[in-house]
Subunit: 374 residues, 2 copies
């Protein structure tokens, strides 16, 4: 951690009093965004890079907190001095998305109108709304143009959307392990996770805060389902296989197999810190995202207005957003005559690969970002 870490970091907060009109028709009259920055903004303000987070990520991308040194940013292996996204060259920004549960205004924030948590009254937010909010933050930081916007998975959708919503404000897009839209199967997994939460008696229609409970069972199940889709079949086989917890079957519904122990642990841990309403909102944002929809499904046409250069990366064993989905993006960009590089990384780790320190993957990003002028 020490040598190549950005070191001690502090979250910052920005208050926005201009109402934000959302794609859903809702309005947030006032909101706050919590964010972190790493590196230094140069005098010309041309070296800023925005890192967009995925489902369970946050603004805490890299480094650690002085009072909580074990709380290391979720992409610390990727962002820092000498790392693929090098903070000696770039000024990196991480933002907790609207609707999140790490400090930006979200369902568990106090609604000034009622003095209670928003809960079920928090409006639906979309990828496009997040980009809009991020753009306003950039305005306030005096950043008129990003050298790059980078994200994996749902973060990749935001990076793509930046090129469409603010073509003149982003020079490079790195879209990693992502997709131009969810498939029926992707939506199906989200739906089961949502139903697990919505049907938990402790959900109370989204207003569980006032009962002093959380829909823990539902959140656990949602996270367990998620984890199955983040790992490849092969990675699970290699890591757990049919290994037994107790050496022999006990004929019980308690843990028999190590994979069960892993899933329960991940689910339980997640249910202690993640907000169920944020989970619901975020999976819906995933479902809704489809930039080609307003062009009759023609993604190439959707990309026509983009001005960025694109680097699209996928991982061979990712079955959540498979390489084929990345190739759809590449194909649309090619047909729209946009500059695009594409790399499919051989990796055993499935969708999770984008978060891991994989030499070839990191080398490729490093090489790409090395040639980005600032």
């Amino acid at each position: 951690m020490a040598v190549r870490s950005v070191g001690v970091v502090s979250p910052q907060r920005m208050v926005f009093d201009e109402p934000l009109r959302l794609k859903s028709g809702g309005v947030l009259p006032r909101y706050e965004l919590v964010y972190e920055t790493y590196g230094e903004l140069n005098a010309a303000k041309t070296n800023a890079v925005l890192v967009c987070h995925a489902l369970s990520g946050s603004h805490h991308v890299a480094g650690y907190y002085e009072d909580d040194p074990k709380n290391i940013g979720w992409w610390d292996n990727f962002v820092g001095p000498g790392k693929p996204l090098d903070t000696r060259k770039f000024f990196v920004i991480g933002v907790n998305n609207l609707g999140g549960c790490y400090g930006s205004t979200g369902p568990k924030s106090i609604d000034p109108e009622t003095g209670e948590p928003y809960g079920s009254r928090f409006p639906f937010v979309t990828v496009e709304d997040w980009v809009e909010a991020q753009a306003r933050l950039a305005d306030r930081l005096g950043i008129s143009e990003f050298a790059a916007v980078i994200g994996g998975s749902l973060g990749g959708m935001q990076a793509l959307s930046w090129a469409l919503q603010y073509p003149e404000r982003v020079r490079h897009v790195l879209a990693i392990a992502t997709t131009p839209k969810l498939t029926a199967q992707n939506i199906a997994f989200n739906e089961v996770a949502r139903q697990a939460i919505l049907s938990d008696p402790d959900f109370h229609g989204g207003d569980y805060y006032r009962y002093g409970v959380v829909p823990k069972r539902g959140l656990m199940l949602a996270r367990m389902i998620g984890h199955i889709t983040y790992l490849s079949d092969d990675a699970m086989a290699e890591k757990f296989g049919r290994a037994l917890k107790h050496g022999a079957f006990r004929y019980s519904y308690d843990v028999e197999f190590e994979i069960e122990s892993y899933l329960r642990y991940q689910g339980e841990k997640f249910s202690r810190y993640f907000d169920a309403n944020t989970y619901l909102l975020t999976t819906r944002a995933l479902d809704y995202y489809d930039p080609a929809a307003e062009y009759g499904g023609d993604l190439a046409q959707a990309f026509a207005r983009a001005q960025a250069r694109f680097f699209v990366l996928s991982f061979s064993t990712d079955w959540r957003f498979s390489p084929a989905r990345s190739r759809e993006i590449v194909s649309a960009l090619v047909h729209s005559e946009k500059p695009v590089s594409y790399l499919e990384i051989e990796s055993k780790a499935g969708h999770d690969s984008f978060l891991l320190e994989h030499p070839h993957y990191h080398a490729a990003v490093r090489a790409y970002l090395n040639q980005v002028a600032v």
Copy 2:
């Protein structure tokens, strides 16, 4: 239905007073099996075929009931006069497995010791126990040897197990869309489904019968997860894609996409008729099955004692039990110098293919069974 159906059928019941010692160490002192038969047992009793059912199947394999003509057997397209498993040639038996919820002794049956449903006291049952119980039923029907034992998915595991537990009692095994053991990913899906049921407040530790409730939410979630794994990504894309229920987004957690409507409908329907304890027991039987385990993982060695001829079938888009899993079976049989035929069927429908009327699949089974001597 009319022309090639076995027509009106009636379930039968057999009571067994000899205790059944189970692999788990438990004992069922007395139990009943409900079964159906189609066709006629020949004088030499050499034309009997056992059809083994999968997770949600039953003894009602073909035909319909006089008082419930819409209740058609789950494999009616496969079993009947002139169908792949031709009841003009074969005497076909379907049995509801022990622990089931369609009439054979199971968790919702009355435990004679307490006068209450077994519930949480019902012992764990395994694939091997089912085969043992089926063998006893065969004894009582005077069937010393099956012309064939046939099953898909979990039913295929039983068919394989027949060849190992009673090598001299089965001449042909048709193992369809199955696997020699579950992977970590397979177990993971089962585990999430189980946790959905176990964590449902209406589960009451398995003794929900006495409270007059069922863990409906858990069963719904379990079935929804199941359905995702039964269908291929492609089949889901083709059948549902991103089609919307209401033509436009409503920004809601109600049904937005058709796939959500389908999953909820399937889950809700299932939760009305299937017993949660049976679901739990059956998924555990799936997890536990591993005939190679007692041979240090050497499946070829496990097959050494088999005397049957094998026909192994898989479906190209089945990602629950992929063709690679069938090839493991084939490879072990080949290395054990057993007679085996293998066919991978091109099908879009995923794991569900084994239940569907697919011309090439049905023709292949028909051709194979044509050459089975009776």
